[in-house]
């Protein structure tokens, strides 16, 4: 679950809670038409309705409980297994080598390359520059137009123009050797270590 989605979720929750608080306070002070502030929280009309629909009220309550539990489990799953960008699976080379649509259906033999292996190969290529201390690559989306997410840890004296040229060259080699065409390239660099030595 991305930060922006969580932000939207909490904005909606915040609006709902504020509305409940505002309307509830007005009702509690006796200024809301149609609501008696002296009535109990479970008022007689609700009790009559509950008894009138028995035993279906219990069934509805049970379904509501199941819905709440499902919602909680769904939220937990989304939170604990975040996948805003599903990782690209294996690359079936027929996708990138076939010249016609018919060839992709030809049966004799299939060569698959693990998506993770492709990413590790690019990481090693990126880390060849001594300015790059560590590179982490994630391939998402689907072949033949996957998205490329790169995270770099750079030394404090790294020059970004040379790093950019090195990364562009490595990514260019990657697209050519994998036979893929880029859908998107996103690079985040982090400057490691302290700055220049302190001199007083």
């Amino acid at each position: 679950m991305t930060d922006s989605r969580l932000r939207v979720l909490w904005t909606v929750v915040g609006l709902a809670l504020t509305a409940v608080g505002a309307v509830g306070l007005v009702a509690s002070l006796g200024h809301l038409a149609g609501v008696d502030e002296n009535a109990p929280l479970i008022w007689s009309g609700l009790l009559r309705l509950w008894r009138g629909v028995a035993p279906w009220g219990l069934a509805v309550l049970g379904v509501l409980g199941l819905l709440l539990a499902w919602l909680g489990a769904h939220l937990l799953r989304r939170l604990l297994w975040p996948s805003p960008h599903p990782v690209m699976g294996d690359l079936d080379l027929r996708i990138v080598t076939a010249t016609t649509a018919d060839e992709t259906r030809l049966p004799p033999g299939t060569t698959r390359v693990r998506g993770g292996r492709l990413a590790r190969g690019l990481e090693r290529d990126l880390a060849r520059d001594p300015q790059v201390r560590r590179a982490s690559v994630t391939l998402t989306g689907t072949a033949p137009n996957p998205e490329l997410w790169i995270e770099l840890r750079l030394g404090p004296r790294a020059t970004l123009t040379t790093v950019r040229d090195h990364v562009s060259a490595a990514v260019g080699r990657f697209w050519v050797t994998a036979g893929l065409t880029p859908g998107r390239l996103d690079v985040t660099a982090r400057l490691d270590g302290a700055g220049a030595a302190r001199v007083r």
């Binding site: 679950m1 930060d3 969580l6 932000r7 979720l9 909490w10 904005t11 915040g14 609006l15 809670l17 504020t18 509305a19 409940v20 608080g21 505002a22 509830g24 306070l25 509690s28 002070l29 008696d36 502030e37 002296n38 009535a39 109990p40 929280l41 479970i42 009790l47 035993p55 219990l58 049970g62 509501l64 409980g65 199941l66 709440l68 539990a69 919602l71 909680g72 489990a73 939220l75 937990l76 939170l79 404090p156 970004l160 123009t161 950019r164 562009s168 390239l185 996103d186 690079v187 985040t188 660099a189 982090r190 400057l191 490691d192 302290a194 700055g195 220049a196 030595a197 302190r198 007083r200």
Partner: protein, 182 residues
Amino acid sequence: MRLLNRLAVLLVALALLVGGVLVVIEVFAVALHRPGLVVDHDGWYRTLTTTRLRDPWVRTGIVTTGVLGLLTLIGQLVRWKPQRLPIRLAEGWHLQRRSVERHLAGTADSVPGVGGANAVVRRRGGGWRTRIRAVGEASLGPAVEQTIRRELARLGASPDDPVDVEMVGPRSARRTGGRPRR
């Protein structure tokens, strides 16, 4: 705020899961005419049919809910610190903000006679706005600014991006509690 949002959703998700399962269990208990597993049905019925909307603790609960909602809303709507700063050098390139701030603070510290530097970098339009606060003589401000601008150029920031340097005298820094926060 990002971490708080995640933790709060985790708590709400657990509460929904446990609460939902509990509701189902209690529904079965009522259907089978058995006492509740966790909820005292008779006690809850008595409380909810005798407590009125105007009762002080109900009103307190309502006000607390409203204030909590308002705080949640404000927390989401205020501007958050960016995690990444876009670089003009290439499309799709970013620098992690915290690492840039640490790096610039170290760079300001490297100017002779300057110490305890604190750097804040924010997005401004398509560029960056940099604020440096450092302990040292006011006359060292231009030297710090020049060093920072040189470093920003190396990091791919535009030379037109604003850089504010505030020099704090050692005495006033001691008065305000020593080294400024980095």
